[in-house]
């Protein structure tokens, strides 16, 4: 069952066509990452799906609801989604626990505030004023406020900006646990390792159009592209690109008496294929 269905979405600001006909289908329980450079149409697309912006044309269903509808059903719909916006700086005069407990009251079926505080790793900051939090802690509070309502669908906009590596790993674990509870997640990020670690599928968007939708392993022909085998021979770095890297390694193994010196085998990273796609679209 698809949670988000988008057909022919278009939106322009004056002369500037921000979204030029996008189709998307995101399944229940999926983590879907939207990748693209700044100004590609990512934020506009997501804000239309979140009900913050109206579209010019196209058909949209988010949890069976048109986000543009502003009647009473909008409130029931908002009760089922969670939104983590890009960095905010509000509510500085509240304590972490006060803020999360307050937001829990907006929803019909919220998560337990204490367990959410623990899940985002803010237990020892629960009584601190929000204005005294570090950037990364503040971001974790944003995430806590996004998931407090126990959403079926969660929007995450650049969620780990300003996190240290350890906090990012912990955050990824949190996102995976939300997914295992059945939450569908639409993620936008600039970190391609994050997309690779979390996403079931990624879409690359540029100039308002989707260039490709695939799993991170298959994007840009990544799984079928040539593999680079690199080794040391007579003190020099040698390399060979091949569609049959195993054969290359076998040959090298027979050539050297023991270990092959300095052996590495690498496929293009997600970042490599992404940059090629974005560059190719210019």
């Amino acid at each position: 069952m698809s949670v988000i269905e988008v057909r022919g979405l278009r939106k322009s600001y004056g002369e500037n066509l921000a979204v030029a006909g996008i189709d998307l289908s995101i399944a229940q329980g999926e983590i879907f990452a939207l990748l693209g450079p700044n100004g590609a149409g990512k934020t506009t697309t997501v804000e239309i799906l979140e009900g913050f912006r109206d579209r010019d044309s196209g058909e949209i269903s988010v949890l069976g609801h048109d986000p543009q509808r502003s009647d009473k059903s909008g409130r029931i719909w908002r009760n089922r989604i969670g939104i983590v916006l890009q960095a905010t700086s509000d509510a500085g005069d509240l304590r972490v626990s006060e803020c999360i407990e307050h937001f829990a009251k907006y929803y019909s079926n919220p998560r337990d505030p204490e367990s959410v505080i623990a899940a985002v790793g803010l237990s020892d900051k629960r009584d601190d004023l929000i204005r005294n939090l570090s950037g990364g802690q503040r971001r974790r509070l944003d995430v806590a406020l996004g998931i407090i309502g126990n959403p079926e669908l969660l929007f995450l906009d650049e969620p780990t900006t300003g996190f240290d590596p350890e906090a990012r790993r912990a955050f990824w674990e949190l996102i995976r646990s939300l997914q295992s509870d059945g939450t569908t997640i639409l993620l936008t990020t600039h970190y391609l390792d994050e997309a690779e670690a979390l996403a079931d599928r990624v879409a690359v968007i540029n100039h308002g159009k989707i260039l490709e939708i695939a799993t991170p392993q298959k994007l840009g022909g990544r799984s079928t592209s040539l593999t680079k085998v690199q080794w040391l021979e007579n003190g020099e770095i040698r390399s060979e690109e091949s569609s049959e890297p195993t054969a290359v390694v076998k040959r090298l193994a027979s050539q050297f008496p023991g270990e092959i010196p300095g052996l590495t085998i690498s496929r293009p990273t997600l970042e490599d294929v992404y940059l090629t796609m974005i560059g190719g679209a210019e």
């Binding site: 916006l85 937001f103 009251k105």
Partner: protein
């Protein structure tokens, strides 16, 4: 699944939260609650004269300060704070939750009522203790005081929310809003006896609610003999009520139609 909480229940929750946040911002507490008191101290100490038989300037000034207190804690506070909340992203965050917009408005109104009440109690307390202020003795005057305060608070709150769409940014809001309020205070007879102002100032002031609120508060705190110094030689409380209701309705329409959650 449980039912969504009611708009009113969430409005009360918002109000409690707004008041808690307000109390933790020392500058805003000082500015909105203690500033009128400081003005009373200054004006009450400088002008010790009587402006009519049995009416000290302090007595006149307290009426004006209570009226402008409604404008300060309603209109001025909200028209400055809401653009800031818009800049900080708090409004957009709220927009993304199932909290109804009416609950947000109710919360703001409760904040205004709370800061207004604190301000009135302090003004009247200090006025009586240090400046020989006479409190009204008849039930009728207290009744006028009650409806004026409630209607004035509602109008100032709604106009503050409506005006919050005017400033382009949170930083610039105070520079736009504060001068408007200060000029209105001078024109509306808060600092000077209204009928001694140039007539063009009186005419301009008569368009806006503060002049009428101030006049209404005079009807509460000054003896009825003072009507001889009023423009119409009467308190005109019916007209005051009509002007305030008209502004309330216009403000409400603008607030609902034009309110913006983000820039």
């Amino acid at each position: 699944m449980n039912r969504l909480p009611s708009t009113l229940a969430l409005g009360l929750q918002r109000g409690a939260l707004e008041i808690r946040q307000f109390m933790r911002q020392r500058e805003s507490v000082v500015f909105t609650i203690f500033f009128p008191l400081i003005l009373l101290m200054i004006f009450g100490s400088v002008f010790k004269n009587t402006i009519a038989p049995g009416v000290t300037f302090s007595q006149y000034f307290v009426a004006g300060m209570i009226a402008s207190g409604l404008v300060n804690s309603g209109f001025q506070q909200l028209a400055i704070v809401i653009p800031l909340e818009r800049d900080f992203g708090s409004l957009k965050r709220l927009r993304g939750t199932p909290m109804p917009v009416a609950s947000y408005f109710i919360g703001k109104a409760l904040l205004v009522i709370a800061s207004m009440t604190a301000q009135i109690v302090l003004l009247l307390g200090f006025g009586v203790a240090f400046f020989g202020l006479n409190l009204p003795t008849s039930a009728g005057k207290w009744f006028t005081f009650l409806w004026l305060t409630l209607l004035g608070t509602a109008t100032a709150t709604v106009l503050g929310i409506a005006f919050s769409i005017v400033p382009k940014s949170g930083r610039g809001a105070s520079a736009i809003v504060s001068p408007i309020v200060i000029i209105l205070q001078f024109f509306s007879g808060v600092f000077f006896v209204f009928t001694q102002l140039p007539s063009w100032m009186q005419h301009v002031a008569a368009i806006f609610p503060l002049k009428w609120l101030t006049q209404g508060m005079r009807s509460v705190f000054l003896p009825d003999s003072f009507t001889s110094q009023e423009v119409a030689h009467s308190w005109e409380n019916g007209r005051t009520c009509a002007v305030l209701v008209a502004w309330l309705v216009v403000g409400l329409i603008f607030a609902i139609k034009k309110f913006r959650w983000s820039n």
